[in-house]
Amino acid sequence: MTEALVRFEGEDIGWPGQPVLSGLHLTLHAGERLVLLGRSGAGKSTLLSAIRDRLPGRIALIPQDHGLVGPLSVHHNVWMGRLDDHRSAYNLLNLVRPLARERAATDPVIAEVGLSGFERRPVEALSGGQRQRTALARALFRGGDAVLGDEPVSAVDPVQGAALLEALTGRFQTLVLALHDREAALATATRIVGLKDGAVLIDAPARDLSLEALSPLYD
């Protein structure tokens, strides 16, 4: 087995005194594509942020609320994925007047999520699906060892969603995604963790699971 990136050994996750998941046992290995399933409120987002806190290396994020800056352009929001790679002065320069080479750098990922032509559009003028794709493009542009996504394709149609998930698996070695679409989960994941009532109900390789096997999560 490859190295363990994150390990929970019987821990309570959530707020002090109010655990969302109690007695959690979970180990994430490099190279895994882990998908979290469960009803809303089952603790997927809580587990994601707990994993985020412990995950070493370079991580890309796709938060549920996208974490975009509305008044800034699509290019700006995508480029924001690499702010920590540059000095403040360079960041300021590219904020005030994006450099041609930085525009060229973000163009391919913007094209990959299907937003070509929208580079200069402020994000607040986009539709919900377009915003989500901007957040995805930001993660793709950032790159790194792992990507954490909370419902990263919830606002796009299934075909587009599948293509975007494929783009993520192509770009990142390790994925941890919270999804609600079971078919997409089975197609993307190497491993599925199903949460219910504050506990892990399912933890199995995706190839051993079927749609029926996942239905207890939603009963």
Binding site: D65, V69, P71, D84, R142
Partner: protein, 505 residues
């Protein structure tokens, strides 16, 4: 602030109102509200005639003063906004916060009087007099805006992102629309400040107005007033952000051409020495307590009392005007034409600077506290009425709701009462701060003693009095926010796009 064990019951509004009435009655007993002018009616008639027949014959000086009024406001507000923007991210630091409190607790007019000792009657004095207090206000408000933006974007940033990059890329762009709209509002205040600076000698519209009044040229004075309105009322039409750099350039060119009377050399050193308390300067440390006591007993205590009396009466008048005046803007109360007229009346009242209004009233009513009470009350009452009226226009009323006065009494007033109280409490601090400036027209507030001290070139006294003024403003701010908290008004008056705390400084 409040820990859970000791939450006190909310203050009853009736109790607070009773207390307010009692304090107002006391202030009424202490105030000198006599009509001292020999024949106010004749004077008023004379002024009204002037107002009805404005004389634009002196067009050139009028245009020049108007342009300078704009220039001082533009440059002063811009400098204040930029300084405030730089200080805002560090506003949590006690030193920055303290500096900002000190800057904004002193009125523009007193900054001007103080700065004049160093920079003379130069454009720099006018620009700084606006920029310094405004920087303190901008820093506070911008800091709040930056705090309040959605934190999602900042938390989605890569972990290693620098603080400055995070601020510039997420919080700043998110807060920018609010900041710009606040800056536009401040520009309006800046124009009023700039005009009023004329009364202490800077070449703005106030200066022109004062000299016309002194010569009893009311027709010319009316032209000055109308010219001021012609600038400030359509502010939102001409204030375009793309044009601001152009405006600024013009303003700087204009200000650079103002003649500056020469100041002696070594003026800064002399100023630095002069503001040291006299006993210390003379090396007589033992005399310091007596000096302090004389200042406290002779000027600070009586000045504070008069300041409080004046501001209490002004606040009561503002409450009356706001409570009765806000429905003027509501169509269901005054009808379509009535609402437009009501809006216009409130706009005129709130846009005429309170100091200018007091100066005009002083000419017809005579030198008691009356002009200052009326001016402060009218100006502030109109501001509160305007904010309440805008909220009232947005209230969702049932289709068969009553109309006219019944609507006011049964729906609007009860629904907006918490907002009304909160606005009054917010405004209280500003009224106290502003009441000091009526010292310059003879009301014996703290400002009166500051003015006297500066004229006698006793800058040490002036600075001590200004410190006392700042502390008084701070104390009122604390009492006001305590009362708002105890009355459960802290969350802010009704949800609306107007934020009273800020829309009113």
């Amino acid at each position: 602030m409040t820990d859970r064990g000791t939450v006190r019951p909310p203050l009853r509004r009736t109790h607070v109102l009773a207390g307010f009435a009692l304090v107002t009655a006391l202030a009424f007993a202490l105030a000198d509200l006599r009509l001292l002018a020999p024949d106010p009616a004749a004077m008023l008639a004379q002024m009204a005639r002037g107002l009805l027949h404005p004389d634009f014959g002196q067009a050139l000086p009028l245009l020049h003063a108007a342009a300078l009024t704009l220039a001082f406001a533009l440059v002063g507000v811009t400098c204040g906004a930029l300084a405030g923007l730089v200080m805002a991210p560090a506003y949590r630091h006690p030193a920055v916060r303290g500096l900002c409190v000190a800057l904004r607790s002193i009125h523009e007019l007193f900054w001007a009087l103080l700065l004049m000792q160093v920079t003379g009657l130069s454009p720099l004095t006018g620009v700084l007099a606006i920029a310094l207090p405004y920087a303190g206000i901008f820093a506070k408000v911008f800091a709040e805006y930056l705090e309040e933006v959605d934190a999602g974007a900042a938390s989605a940033l890569p972990r290693g992102t620098g603080t400055l990059s995070a601020l510039l890329w997420t919080r700043l762009p998110l807060a920018m629309p609010q900041m710009l709209s606040y800056a536009a509002y401040r520009m309006e205040c800046g124009l009023r400040s700039s005009a009023v600076l004329g009364f202490v000698g800077l070449p703005t519209l106030g200066f022109l107005m004062e000299s016309y009044f002194r010569q009893a040229d009311y027709a010319e004075a009316a032209a000055v007033l109308l010219c001021f309105f012609a600038i400030i009322l359509p502010l939102r039409l001409w204030l375009r952000w793309r044009l601001v750099p152009l405006y600024l350039l013009g303003a700087l060119v204009l200000l650079a051409q103002v003649d500056v009377p020469p100041m002696g050399s070594g003026i800064l050193m002399r100023f630095a020495q002069d503001i040291v308390p006299a006993p210390l300067r003379q090396g007589d440390l033992a005399a310091l307590p007596a000096w302090l006591w004389e200042m406290i007993a002779g000027q600070i205590a009586p000045g504070t009392l008069v300041t409080l009396v004046l501001s209490q009466l002004a606040l009561a008048l503002a409450a009356l005007i706001a409570g009765l005046g806000f429905p003027l803007m509501v169509r269901r109360v005054t009808g379509r034409v009535g609402a437009v007229l009501g809006d216009a009346l409130l706009a005129v009242l709130r846009n005429i600077p309170d100091y200018m209004l007091a100066f005009i009233l002083l000419q017809c009513l005579g030198p008691s506290m009356l002009p200052a009470v009326l001016a402060l009350g009218l100006h502030n009452g109109a501001i509160i009425a305007h904010l309440l009226g805008r909220q009232a226009q947005g209230l969702a009323l049932r289709p068969d709701a009553p109309r006219g006065l019944t609507l006011w009494g049964w729906e609007l007033l009860p629904r907006q009462f918490p907002a009304f109280l909160a606005l009054l409490l917010y405004r209280w601090e500003i009224i106290v701060r502003d009441s000091a400036i009526f010292g310059l027209i003879g009301v014996a507030t703290l400002g009166f003693h500051v003015d006297a001290a500066i004229q006698q070139l006793r800058l040490d006294r002036a600075v001590l009095l200004l410190v006392a003024m700042g502390l008084l403003t701070l104390a009122i701010d604390l009492v006001s926010s305590h009362l708002r908290g105890r009355m459960r008004l802290a969350a802010g008056p009704v949800t609306s796009r107007v934020d009273p705390g800020r829309a009113m400084d």
